[in-house]
Amino acid sequence: MTKPSSNQFWGEDLTCVRGERIVFQSLNFELTPGGALILIGPNGSGKSSLLRMMAGLLQPAGGKMLWAEEAGEPEDASQDMDLHGGRLHYVGHHDAVKPVLTAAENIGFWARIRGGGEDTIHESLDVFDIKHLYDVPGRFMSAGQKRRVNLARIIAAPAPLWLLDEPTTALDKATIKRLEDAIQRHRDGGGMVVLSTHSDVDTPGSKTLNLADFASKAPLDEHVMV
């Protein structure tokens, strides 16, 4: 197990505006080493938007996100996207599995551009029980298998923060259990996890954030746009 790190990641007073409509506002969150945050809320409440915001793909319309390392000054996470991107793994709605590349090539590429090695590819295939897909091209994989390859990618090159947008989509029960175990190991090593879900993912000791609590109650023109 790697040395527990003491990274912290938090957001203050975040506002998300999509298509001139406030999706959520005055949202605060905080993640400490080993922490997990479960995002719940009805469709359109901004779970995916918040995850994309945390990843740096979406700029907050208001508020800020901060990242602090051991004994370091907190820094604005949205300032240096390359630096921030290196700290996190994002699993979105798309699986980013190329149809003409095999599972090993797909995972290997993402691992190598993050400085991972060949040995971690086998390990990551093991975690999600897809060794048999090693040399199978993406076009012959089912939706669940592609999702497993996508999840194996985040095992193959370590990063302290995992942002998982409905990771259990298309997964069978046994694989959801494997994902829960992987998340637990990641947290034991000091990693942080944020995931959005509609089904139950067993993450002991996690905090829950209901996005519906931060929905805009007033029309847009009463707010100051940033």
Partner: protein, 221 residues
């Protein structure tokens, strides 16, 4: 640098296994040029006069043909988000994709061009210059094209929009590319035209990765 090569290798692997893209570009290039002798007649002098221009215009059009897919497939399957999040500056990623694009489309065009020059009765004096001008000009086409390809992400009918955005910007390359070939044929100085092509290439190399990366960030929001 190792990561840059990794990106180029991936795009090359994708291009070769997805197969037909490069071949289609070359096939289009050949067919487009071959149409001209049918259109203007097989008279040697007429063909020789328009040879340089025809080959250049056909090269512009065929290089544009494959631009739409430069970022589109990565955008559709979510790879682009992950590339943006990778600890590599997005500008470098863009440059790697442009290099791969040029290797799979620009380079085959340069290799095919002499054959078409024979077909178009281009005088022998122009051959070397044509190849050299294409070698200087086609990377610029890929670079400028990358900006257009980034801007059309997420729009419908992207292909048509792309040609409207990119073709006007190709005009300077066309002008200096053709005048270089003409200068060689009429035994005038080729060097100034080549210098202009070189300047366009260096300028595009310095500016377009930033513009394209900004376009990609916009598309991902």
């Amino acid at each position: 640098m190792a990561k840059f090569m990794e990106l180029v290798k991936r795009d090359l692997a994708l291009a070769f296994r997805q197969g037909m893209d490069s071949l289609m570009v070359v096939a289009f290039f050949i067919i487009a040029v071959v149409l001209f002798p049918f259109g203007v007649g097989p008279e040697v002098n007429t063909l020789a006069k328009i040879a340089g221009g025809t080959i250049w215009v056909a090269a512009l059009l065929s290089s544009m043909l494959s631009l739409e897919r430069l970022f589109q497939t990565d955008y559709d399957d979510g790879s682009l988000e992950l590339l943006a999040l990778a600890p590599i500056p997005l500008e470098v990623t863009v440059l790697a994709k442009v290099v791969a694009h040029w290797l799979t489309t620009g380079l085959p065009l340069i290799i095919t061009a002499p054959l078409l020059a024979v077909l178009m009765q281009l005088p022998m004096d122009g051959f070397g210059t044509l190849i050299l001008a294409l070698a200087l000009g086609t990377p610029t086409l890929s670079l400028i094209g990358a900006v257009g390809a980034a801007l059309i992400l997420g729009s419908r009918r992207g292909g048509v929009l792309l040609s409207l955005l990119v073709l006007p910007l190709y005009i300077p390359i066309l002008i200096f590319g053709v005048s270089a070939v003409d200068a060689a044929i009429f035994d005038e100085a080729v060097r100034p035209h080549m210098l202009f092509l070189g300047a366009l290439f260096v300028g595009a190399l310095a500016l377009t990765p930033w513009a394209a990366a900004a376009g990609l960030r916009q598309a991902l929001e």
